[in-house]
Symmetry: C2
Subunit: 212 residues, 2 copies
């Protein structure tokens, strides 16, 4: 009996392989970041497709996520970005030499994620991500009681905030879409690094009808 | 203390009102149809925005959902459609006369939902919904053990199937987007009314690379 939450082809694949071997399977549903992200106050109905952001290296900076973000942004949808983790990875040298020595685990931080986003925008230049006028919400350990951290701000504010404000990993980041409801702004304001600027950008840039 | 799952502005609004009255609030996360829909085998990352479909009447046939479905379809995304329910509704006559007599509860069935979709397509004519070449998956009571029903097919197959195959309400319907992965097709085939036709449409119309 394999018990899984089924949300990606990774899971589907495991289930299909188990079945082919005659192993009974059963899916048990639970909360996941894909719906617990509602803790940010952004309504789930207005999320587009989700994307993953991987650690950039000097030679590998995959930016296909940018196309998905743009598709969502063009429709005014929010985008949930899942940040990369590296656990039980070998260095190239250890891998080449067949040494089973693993690097310490790494979890992408919010400031690093935002800097990668801005760096990608500087290459792709569709104008969908702007340091001072794009709003985003960082989340970690949602539903984890006092370990839960939710932080809202412009991309620049999020990039410049000290890592401590984001709590412990794993982290996720939501890019706020332009089809933004004033109740979403009101709710997320609680989490804003700079409440005044949060409301100002929501009103002036996103065109949200907010009370003064 | 109010305990809620926060996924829509309805919830956000309640929480904000409670806070304004000094009532402590807490959000508890759980599975919801928004992620349990993964039971269909369609990957959650490829869902676009979700929509609701209300009961049409002779004089009221709101079709703004169609614009959202089209936005998702144009990107090849799946669309989760939540079907209308009417509970504790008064007839117009009883409402006018101030009689607190309520109509029996109504839950939109899958065949009715599909017929409303096809009827809307016949008015809007974007070509995104076709009885014989649009695939969809119906779900009810996901995670409810033996009460769970998942049924896959073309819109026409779903519309013509007897209501019993869909189980008890509440029902949801997923319109399958064109950015379809062969593992999604393989997994959902288990639920297909006509397995052969399911694979044929996925291959010939959706362009899915399936093994024969």
């Amino acid at each position: 009996m394999i018990i899984l939450s089924n949300s990606a082809t990774t899971h589907t694949d495991i289930i299909l392989r188990a079945r082919a071997l005659g192993i009974p399977t059963r899916v048990v549903h639970n909360a996941s970041i894909l719906n617990a992200v509602g803790a940010s106050g952004l309504q789930l109905y207005n999320f587009g497709q989700s994307v993953s952001l991987v650690f950039f290296t000097d030679t590998w900076r995959p930016d296909s996520f940018y196309d998905r973000v743009k598709e969502n942004a063009d429709l005014g949808m929010h985008t949930l970005i899942l940040l990369d983790i590296k656990v039980k990875e070998q260095s190239e040298e250890n891998l080449a030499r067949g040494r089973k020595i693993y690097e310490p685990p790494r979890y992408m931080s919010i400031p690093l994620a935002v800097s990668q986003l801005i760096s990608t925008e500087s290459v792709r230049r569709s104008g969908i991500l702007d340091p001072t006028t794009t709003l985003a919400i960082a989340l970690s350990r949602v539903g984890g009681g006092s370990e839960e951290h939710i932080v809202a701000g412009t991309l620049q504010e999020l990039m410049e905030a000290p890592e401590e404000v984001y709590g412990e990993p794993l982290h996720s980041l939501v890019l706020v879409g332009k089809r933004l409801h004033h109740l979403e702004v009101d709710y997320a304001e609680t989490f804003a690094l700079d409440r005044e600027n949060w409301r100002r950008v929501a009103k002036d840039v996103y065109g949200c009808a907010l009370e003064d």
